[in-house]
Amino acid sequence: MGPYVLRRVLMAIPVLLGTTFVIYLAVYALPGDPIQALAGPNQVISPSVAQALRERFHLDQPLVVQYGLYLRGLLGGDLGTSFTGRPVTEIIAASWPVTAQLGGTAWIIMAVAGVALGVVAAVRRGAADAAVLFGTTLALGVPFFVVAYVTQIVFGVQLGWLPVSGVEAGWPLAYILPGLVLALSGLPQVARLTRTSVLDGLAADHVETAVAKGLTGTAVLFRHVVRNSLIPVVSLLGVSLGYLLGGTVLVEGIFNLPGLGYQIYTAIPQHDGPVVVGIGTMLVLVFLSVNLLVDLLYGVLDPRIRLG
């Protein structure tokens, strides 16, 4: 296990460098004035602010040096400063708990419901299968910010069952609806992959061995089919966090939850570039770390990967 962990960690480093470099290139090194780009086309920036920013981002240095300095700042916890003067790290510190609760809620709903639906569809076939396929198609097809609106109107405004705006009601009440909506962004993929994976699992030769061993139906299903089939799903659950993180921008915006996504949502119309880029970078780092953990978990589950 040791060498495997080391290998995965080492492999994550170039990805980290690559992602930050792509962001860096797009934001600071594209043709045109990066300061103006950050501020958006319609913003008027005073020359003194522009000069301060130019120095801060070392725009007078060669590109590689600039990137190096940017990366050093990043790893030291410097994500830039909002045009309002507030450091982005401060904004993050204030808003991450909301996003963590929302993301966590949605992730659990997605994992549990997605896996359960996928397993049922594959094992039961027939009507259950058709229903799951239809439902996931619908969930894939209807853009989920549209779903967010509909949920908000139907459950919040018309029925008044659950809060549809803000976090005053606290966890879990305030997070149920947005969590459900957010979970929809990855749930169809999880359910579908689980379904195909279990179908493949059911057809695997070693399942016949398990039946021939005289094990009970449940033992065969859970120990020899589902357990093996969930291995690829685990890796999708990591990737799905990407959908969730992107989705928080929309869901927190629509449901008025003051998390990281909400900060991006409100910063965009205000053309507060540093906030968008800073929090965006933060979300990328979170995504990378979670996927590293998922990779390690994958190794635990599959000895063929771990032992090579």
């Binding site: 290998r7 492999m11 090579g308």
Partner: protein, 324 residues
């Protein structure tokens, strides 16, 4: 004695094994490790060995599908692996490979006729455009397929028919040598016999020479004039068919014969104890004679000194300390 069409000298193929994100070389897989062979016109050379002995890699080097690490394949007096570009393409027409898996060796989206026609299309000098369709028909007829098969796709054919198409395609180039890499292993016994008969007939009619590679001693014994036995990338014994089958001198060849179940219940019972263990990994072959860990007759020297090649009878060579 007829002329030599294919001469293999000290052929070596090592595959570096790479691992990790930096693709460091962590070892060398010695697939073929110093093989020398000779094939004369009209002759069939059988190559026998178990999985991992390097026989398929050898086949791919003989037909220029793979470049050797060192050593040379001399085809009709020309060094095959020193040739490049157009010269190489011309030379490799003379030696064609017949694949093991007849369904994998045909493009699923090409009809039988298109597959057999491809050699003419890529080598325009073979036949003028107007004659190609006729040549395709002739070739199909030659391997026992009627005009009705020409428009079919591979999945519409049986395994035996697919193998016939592969043979027809190879024959389009008028080769002198066919290297057959387990051409009948994937087929049922009754179909196997059809293909074996076909190959025999083609050899007689077209004067072909074969390198016939197999793990099945029975088929090789039926077809081969001479036999080479491979173990871990080396030829351990080579000689005329009746010598290698009747007077096997290498302990591994003897063990192979002993292990092959014969289709005669009367012979049951008087078989020797099977060889112990399995062939070691070609990544880390044993020193000295590579067979010594499994050899029932091994002595101390076998573990340290590579065996010399001994001629035990005219044309019958064995690499073993105990031979001779």
């Amino acid at each position: 004695m007829s002329r030599t069409v294919l001469r293999v000298t000290d052929l070596v193929k090592h595959f570096p094994m790479r691992k990790g994100p930096l693709r460091r070389t962590v070892g060398v897989l010695k697939a073929v490790d110093g093989v020398s062979l000779e094939l004369r016109a009209g002759e069939t050379l059988g190559v026998v060995g178990e999985s991992g002995c390097g026989k398929s890699t050898l086949a791919r080097m003989l037909t220029a599908h793979e470049r050797p690490t060192s050593g040379e394949v001399d085809l009709l007096g020309r060094p095959l692996h020193k040739l490049r570009g157009a010269e190489l393409r011309r030379a490799r027409r003379r030696v064609q490979l017949i694949f093991q898996d007849p369904s994998g060796s045909l493009n699923p989206r090409m009809t039988v006729a298109a597959s057999v026609r491809e050699p003419f299309d890529v080598n325009p000098d073979l036949a003028p455009r107007g004659e190609r369709d006729r040549r395709v028909r002739e070739l199909l007829e030659l391997v026992g397929l009627g005009p009705g098969h020409a428009g079919r796709y591979p999945h519409q054919l049986s395994g035996g028919q697919r193998q016939r198409v592969g043979i027809a395609r190879a024959l389009a180039l008028r080769p002198e040598v066919l290297v057959c890499d387990e051409p009948v292993s994937a087929l049922d016994v009754s179909v196997q016999a059809q293909i074996v008969n076909l190959l025999e007939r083609l050899r007689a009619e077209l004067g072909l020479a074969y390198v016939f590679i197999a793990h099945d001693l029975g088929v090789v014994s039926h077809l081969a004039d001479r036999v080479a036995v491979m173990y871990l990338g080396r030829v351990v014994e080579t000689g005329p068919q009746e010598r290698v089958y009747g007077h096997a001198a290498h302990p591994y060849t003897q063990a192979l014969h002993a292990a092959a179940p014969l289709p005669d219940p009367a012979l049951r019972g008087d078989r020797e104890a099977p060889l112990e263990g399995e062939p070691p990994s070609p990544l880390d072959p044993p020193g000295g004679c590579s067979f010594h860990p499994r050899c029932p007759l091994a002595r101390d020297t076998c573990a340290t000194v590579p065996p010399p090649q001994v001629e035990v009878a005219p044309g019958h060579q064995v690499s073993c300390h105990l031979a001779g």
